[in-house]
């Protein structure tokens, strides 16, 4: 069965302390892997789409990478405003529905 697993569940960082979030997946016919940011009480906000192994995307302090089995979201020198839950999702086969991981709750302390 298709699975999306994110780790860690929660991560606390000091401002400026770089780290990575992991999203591992087992899915048949991956069409795309998506990263979202979700703030409390809000809907997920789209960050990146990755389509093939080796691909990388960057936006400000965030960089997403993709291998055949997992994706990483690297956060460089995070700031308190980067605190949020980060979700990854896979789009698979001929279905347009996305399967989401449970998310990583990131807290960045000043």
């Amino acid at each position: 069965e298709d699975q999306v697993t994110q780790s860690p569940e929660a991560l606390r960082l000091q401002e400026g302390e770089s780290s990575s979030l992991n999203c591992s997946y087992t899915v048949s016919g991956l069409r795309g892997l998506f990263w979202y940011r979700q703030d409390p009480g809000k809907g997920p906000e789209f960050l990146f789409t990755l389509y093939s192994a080796g691909e990388e995307k960057e936006k400000e302090r965030l960089k997403a990478t993709l291998t055949k089995k997992e994706s990483f979201l690297h956060i460089t020198a995070p700031k308190p405003e980067d605190s949020a839950t980060y979700l990854c999702a896979v789009q698979r086969g001929n279905n347009n529905d996305m399967r989401f991981g449970a998310g990583t709750r990131l807290t960045v302390k000043p």
């Binding site: 069409r31 809000k42 809907g43 997920p44 789209f46 279905n95 347009n96 529905d97 996305m98 989401f100």
Partner: protein, 114 residues
């Protein structure tokens, strides 16, 4: 560009009642998706509509249903509400099917069943 809008923001119902949630997609988007996000759980796929047709549904009972109107807006109906239906219901839209389009989410309807 206006984003995905959902109404109402909050909804309080009693067990056994029916709830209706509404969603307006981004202009030009033809696909609408519904997800349930219960406390402590990830987003669970409910329903996908495109061009007025239900294209796929997740592992939810038939009392979860919906429709898509000619203007691409959508409605989610939950009948015979149960306590465990309390959750944030998120609507998302995408540009078109058959391509790797990201979903764009609204801020959800918080449904509380007492």
């Amino acid at each position: 560009e206006a984003g995905v809008t959902q109404s109402p923001t909050h909804l309080i119902k009693t067990r056994g009642q029916q709830a209706t949630l509404r969603c307006s997609p981004i202009s030009g988007h033809t696909s609408v998706y519904w997800y349930q996000q219960a406390l402590g759980l990830g987003l669970q796929f409910l329903l996908w509509y495109d061009e007025g047709e239900e294209r796929n549904r997740g592992n939810f009972p038939p009392r979860f249903s919906g429709r898509q109107f000619p203007n691409y807006s959508s409605e989610l109906n939950v009948n015979a509400l149960e306590l465990e239906d309390s959750a944030l219901y998120l609507c998302a839209s995408s540009l078109e099917t058959g391509v790797r389009s990201p979903l764009h989410f609204g801020n959800g309807t918080r449904l509380t069943v007492t």
